[in-house]
């Protein structure tokens, strides 16, 4: 790789790919590679975070990301507390900052936050001394997802630089797409967004990705094909007509996958809509690395927590 790894993360938080340096990304990926091995041990635990407390503050429904963080935390021997919007004081009208200040009174070292509002983790990071890890803020960023995606790509191709990565689907509502394009651009990959213009955000070219209004031309020679979940609840049938038509023109089918490079891999951040954005023959096919993404997700999240431990204890700028 042409990018050298940093010695440590520069911030107490991992809030977005936008604020990470390429060398830091490299460091996280390298660290995850070492930690991947923990999952293969009979006793899947290391003592790195013994005595540390992690709060998982999930203000939006999540299963796989929350479980993945929790598994990562437990494998590092941290103590974990789980908050979810429905069962916490948030449902009683408490503001995010008040929730966080109350939590801080219990002195957690990390807060992993998933929030429907863009910028919530940023705000939290500025008011509490704990390390904040963004587990998805609205349609803005999902940094650990982009890191695990990059990790999975690197696992298959040994590099990120020069890879042709297609990201297809509802780009406009996708924090996964945004974090991925930020990361892949920094690491020298070539990103292609494929979607009807009604699902593309305005000015998307400025993010550095080439855009395609049909899937087929984007797939030509692609190394990685990442299909995004169609979030039906967000569409109201104004952005595209129907799931049937979406499948017909924009789903990854075995025939369309033929257009990609012969050794291309297929990714999906989950949960999948089978028969909408991805055909089951592809999702379960030999080119699919969707379950590897899930396995790698734990290692990436362990790496983030582990590396932030080095920066722990520093005061937040304006707390």
């Amino acid at each position: 790789m042409s990018i050298e790894a940093a010695a440590a993360l520069s911030s107490k938080d991992v809030i977005g790919i936008a604020s990470l340096e390429p060398m830091e990304i490299e460091l996280i990926l390298n660290t995850a590679e070492e930690l991947l091995e923990v999952a293969r041990r009979p006793i899947k635990k290391v003592p790195a975070l013994r005595g540390a407390t992690v709060v998982n503050l999930f203000m939006e429904p999540s299963t796989r990301t929350r479980f993945s963080f929790e598994v990562a935390e437990k494998r590092l021997s941290a103590d974990t507390l789980n908050f979810s919007a429905s069962t916490s004081s948030v449902s009683k009208g408490e503001t995010l900052v008040d929730t966080a200040r109350n939590l801080m009174a219990m002195a957690p070292d990390y807060i992993v936050i998933r929030h429907p509002n863009v910028g919530a983790p940023h705000r939290l990071a500025s008011v509490v001394p704990a390390s904040i890890i963004n587990a998805g803020d609205g349609i803005n960023e999902h940094p650990s997802q982009a890191l695990l995606d990059a990790f999975t790509m690197r696992q298959h191709f040994g590099r990120l630089e020069g890879l042709k990565v297609v990201i297809a689907g509802d780009i406009r509502h996708s924090r996964v797409a945004r974090s991925n394009v930020f990361l892949l651009e920094k690491m020298g990959a070539e990103v292609r967004f494929a979607a009807p213009a009604s699902l593309l955000p305005v000015g998307v070219e400025e993010l550095g990705a080439a855009t395609f209004l049909r899937l087929e031309p984007a797939l030509e020679g692609a190394d990685v094909v990442m299909m995004l979940r169609i979030q039906r609840e967000r569409q109201k049938n104004v952005n595209f007509p129907s799931l049937r038509e979406y499948y017909d023109f924009f789903a990854l089918t075995p025939e369309r996958l033929e257009l990609a490079a012969p050794n291309a891999v297929v990714m999906h951040p989950g949960p999948m809509n089978r028969g909408v954005e991805i055909d089951s023959l592809v999702a379960d096919g030999p080119r699919s690395v969707i379950l590897e993404q899930v396995t790698n997700g734990v290692a990436i999240r362990m790496a983030i927590l582990y590396l932030l431990a080095g920066g722990r204890g520093e005061q937040a700028a304006d707390s």
């Binding site: 213009a197 049938n237 595209f240 007509p241």
Partner: protein
């Protein structure tokens, strides 16, 4: 194997900058030769076009064929008979049928019926929204795959600006224009004729021109933002055409059309018609200043196409009070003659521009085959006699409907022969 040699005509083909005496050989549905004094093979059928103008087939971007659902007004068969009798080799038919053409099965039905009829080419226009209700996008991709060439909720504007924006964006994936019936329904306020001195004088409820202009402005802004192809239907006011002119100059992807009655009649004609609903159309017949602006826009290239906006209605629907009758005028059998009489002989434009407006530019606007007589192009030809004098006689219309304000009008110039796919499908008596 069918061969047709059209001799001694004046060939006007703007796609090749041709305007000169030439012969054309049509063979197996294609233009096989174009040149001076062509010799056909032995079994060729010869048409003598001396004194006539030979043009690439005329294409009507805006027709209502009414089938399925309103066969008492028009059918695909009678509509196609009317089209070829009016000099059109192809028509694009609007989606406001019953069921609405918002589904590929309807698109396919129209194409299949048209191919059984075998006269004019018929290009279906799919709906923008399901049921033309302006709420959810129709299956644009499926319809395009089934043969739709554009999408439009014509007769109803897309009120929801977000839906219009998404339609312009979504249609880009399928490279079809979004054809807009530009009208702000609230501003129209149930109006029946053009709002102005005449409407006040004769007492008919007025329909403001700004109802059209506001929507034209909105749609141009949306097209500019989205990069989608906007096609504006039946523009009729000076301000609408000015807006298109400046938008085109800014590089907005926009095309537009004008209906033949909008350069032929004014609101004074409505007054003179003594409340006859055959003069009732939407957009309404405009003031003289708007008609002059329409003619100017036809001459200067602002307008891409002259259309018939053929809107057939049954006699029973039109022989009632002006206020109760539906909007609409039949136009397939008068549009070309009106253009020759009012625009060519009226010295508004020359043959090159006229053929451009009926053939080359509409073909380009909707990406249709034709619009050219290049060798290899479809053998669709319209033959015109610029000197032919005739009187509009609705009783001889091939259309099922007779709702025209032009009955009894004497016109100079008209189509005399229509050739589709190398076959003569209509010849003037």
């Amino acid at each position: 194997m069918s061969r047709l040699l059209i001799r001694n005509g004046r060939v006007v083909d703007p796609s090749q900058d041709i305007d000169q005496g030439m012969d054309i050989l049509l063979e197996d549905g294609r233009v096989a030769g174009l040149g001076e004094r062509l010799e056909g093979p032995g079994d060729v059928e010869i048409v003598d076009a001396a004194g006539l103008v030979v043009a690439p087939g005329f294409i009507d971007l805006h027709t209502h064929l009414r089938e399925p659902g309103f066969e008492y007004k028009e059918t695909i068969e009678t509509g196609c008979r009317a089209a070829v009798a009016g000099g059109f080799t192809a028509v694009c038919c609007m989606a406001n049928t019953d069921p609405v053409n918002d589904d590929p099965s309807v698109t396919r039905f129209i194409r299949e019926r048209a191919s059984e009829v075998g006269l004019a080419r018929v290009y279906p226009i799919g709906a923008i929204s399901k049921g033309c209700l302006g709420e959810e996008l129709a299956e644009v991709g499926e319809m395009v795959r089934a043969g739709a060439v554009a999408i439009s909720d014509d007769c109803r504007p897309v009120v929801n600006s977000l839906l219009m924006r998404r339609a312009l964006e979504y249609a880009r994936s399928f490279e079809v224009p979004v054809a807009a019936h530009a009208e702000d329904i609230d501003l129209s306020d149930g109006g029946l004729m053009h709002e102005g001195a005449v409407s006040t004088r004769i007492g008919l409820k007025a329909l403001s021109p700004v109802a059209e202009e506001v929507m034209v402005a909105r749609d141009l802004l949306l097209a500019e933002r989205t990069g989608g192809h906007l096609h504006l239907c039946h523009l009729s006011t000076a301000a609408s055409l000015d807006a298109v002119r400046t938008a085109k100059a800014r590089g907005v992807l926009v095309t537009c059309e004008v209906a033949s009655h909008h350069f032929s009649l004014t609101d004074e004609d409505v007054a003179a018609a003594n409340y006859d609903p055959n003069w009732k159309t939407n957009p309404p017949l405009r003031a003289a200043g708007d008609v002059a602006a329409v003619r100017q826009a036809l001459a200067d290239g602002t307008v891409d196409a002259i259309v018939s906006n053929h809107a057939p209605h049954h006699t029973d629907e039109k022989e009632i009070d002006f206020s109760e009758a539906p909007f609409g005028i039949v136009g397939l059998e008068t549009a070309v003659s009106l253009a020759l009489d009012r625009l060519l002989h009226g010295k508004v434009l020359g043959f090159d521009r006229l053929v451009r407006l009926f053939s080359t530019a509409p073909a380009r606007a909707f990406k249709l085959p034709g619009g050219t007589l290049r060798v290899g192009a479809p053998a669709d030809v319209t033959v015109l006699d610029p000197r032919r004098r005739h009187t509009v006689d609705p009783t001889r219309f091939k259309s099922k409907s007779r709702n025209t304000p032009f009955a009894g009008l004497k016109l100079r110039g008209g189509p005399v022969m229509t050739i589709v796919d190398g076959q003569v499908v209509w010849r003037a008596d």
